[in-house]
Symmetry: C3
Subunit: 218 residues, 3 copies
């Protein structure tokens, strides 16, 4: 989606890699929730494609890439099949998946921001949609699995690296320095921030409780 920034083949491979790891995360949650094979496939699809679908509907890019690009649709099904047959093995490499997921986060927030801007949105809105592209699939996955979205609750700062990456792209655009190098810089920054947040257990703050926070929760 980063037209003219990377060779088309590179872009497409990066997109598919992001979709694949996001789909793995969705399929693994489905297995944990004891969903059947169809539930595994749906959660893989929703996690991988939900964020981009939301962005495409908001910018008027219909049909969304999820439906116009066959490989975007097939890749999550492959990830679901892999998890279906091999899930204990896949879970064992959870650490590796988290690293891939961080890379997917960087790629999606950057490509989402760029695509929204190409469709005529303002810089702030483009960055907001970039973040939504990166985290939206995970939110939809948690809603379908009937859990509070981990994004809202677990204080893991999952979104902060995406906000940083999307804001960098918006700044690069406004200063007219968006190119393959600066794009790669935003992706890498997002990726590294996410890895650091996981490594050092950075925690997002709760609301400032003047009185005890326990009193708020009956």
């Amino acid at each position: 989606m980063l037209h003219d920034l990377f060779p088309p083949g590179v872009q497409h491979a990066l997109d598919l890699a992001g979709i694949f790891v996001f789909a793995l995360a969705g399929a693994l949650l489905a297995v944990r929730k004891n969903f059947d094979v169809f539930g595994i496939a749906v959660l893989a699809l929703v996690t991988a494609l939900g964020g981009g679908l939301f962005r495409d509907l908001c910018i008027g890019a219909v049909p969304p890439a999820a439906f116009s690009e066959l490989s975007f649709f097939v890749t999550p099904l492959l990830a679901a099949a892999l998890v279906f047959f091999l899930h204990p093995e896949v879970q064992r490499i959870n650490r590796a998946i988290n690293v891939c997921d961080a890379a997917g986060l960087g790629l999606f927030c950057v490509s989402g921001t760029t695509k929204a801007y190409e469709y005529g949105l303002g810089l702030t809105s483009s960055a907001a949609l970039g973040v939504a592209t990166a985290v939206g699939g995970g939110v939809l996955r948690d809603v379908l699995a009937n859990e509070v979205p981990s994004l809202l609750r677990d204080r893991e700062m999952y979104a902060v690296p995406a906000v940083v990456g999307a804001s960098m792209i918006a700044l690069f655009i406004s200063f007219e320095v968006l190119n393959a190098l600066t794009t790669a810089l935003a992706i890498v920054t997002t990726f590294v921030l996410r890895i650091l947040a996981m490594q050092f257990h950075w925690r997002a703050p709760l609301a400032w409780n003047r009185r005890s926070s326990v009193a708020e929760e009956p």
Copy 2:
């Protein structure tokens, strides 16, 4: 929505019948959850129209049929009123409703696939949107009722007949043999598969658990 395949009056009556039984199922869940009269109406509307609404947004058919066709909007409200006043009677004919629901499933997956193809989507995407049309309303209903969508979890193979029916339509289109007869064949196949799945309690598989599946669920 199956333009030129059936006489318009027949199509419209079939669409309304599908909408009506889907709305009954939504309203009955609302009663079971002790929702008030407004909750019953909303769940009837969402169950009956949610799948088609999602499809129409994805293919760019705005305003969606749910809003441009008054009878599509009024029919779920009638179903909600029926359940509101007569729900023990409606529940007693649960078996009949399941049969109607199977018919609705067949009709919606076929009309959804056809409409998506008419709007220029590829065959695989059209079939996927056909399945989404058929099962999407039920998923939205369960999400609003704060339950894990039965589609993902209950192993009842609700989606498999829809996948078969939508795939048949996609194949008929690619072999250029889509007509009233083959369309009816896809609807009937979906319907019969769904009835058989209910009758013989076919179960979708869970993920292959090399170790005990219990260990996965803390």
Copy 3:
């Protein structure tokens, strides 16, 4: 959004006021659920902008106002910051917030109906989308917080005033008497009905249970 009915500055101020109080309600729920700072911001944004976003997607107004109007996006973030730092104080003025929320309900159902009609929808559909504009954000908020939407369950007649207000606008349009005065009348009627419903604890009916309603709930 009520083009030509009010001076643009007045309209915009009213829109922002409605967005602000809806965002406060969303942020307060996030604090009650112990969400982190990002969860507070997301719930404020979703509550304030979700209803209008749904309406804009359905009528084909892309990019939605939530993304094309920067002040619509920034206002919920300000409300979230206020709640983040001052939430015990904000909760203490809960009564005042409920009054503002009633005003927001009136404004949103009216502006939603008008905008949908301007985009070519029928009167019934426009009124339905007006109601969806007014209550949709709250439903999305509750879904994300993993609660049954209070709209469907708590019998508080939250939606009834919105239905009345949206229907009044539809009637005014069909009789060609929509102007600043009648629009204000619809807003005030919605507002007063909502205040009365809260004051006198009007309750929406549950389904008519011929047998005991307890028997339905295992």
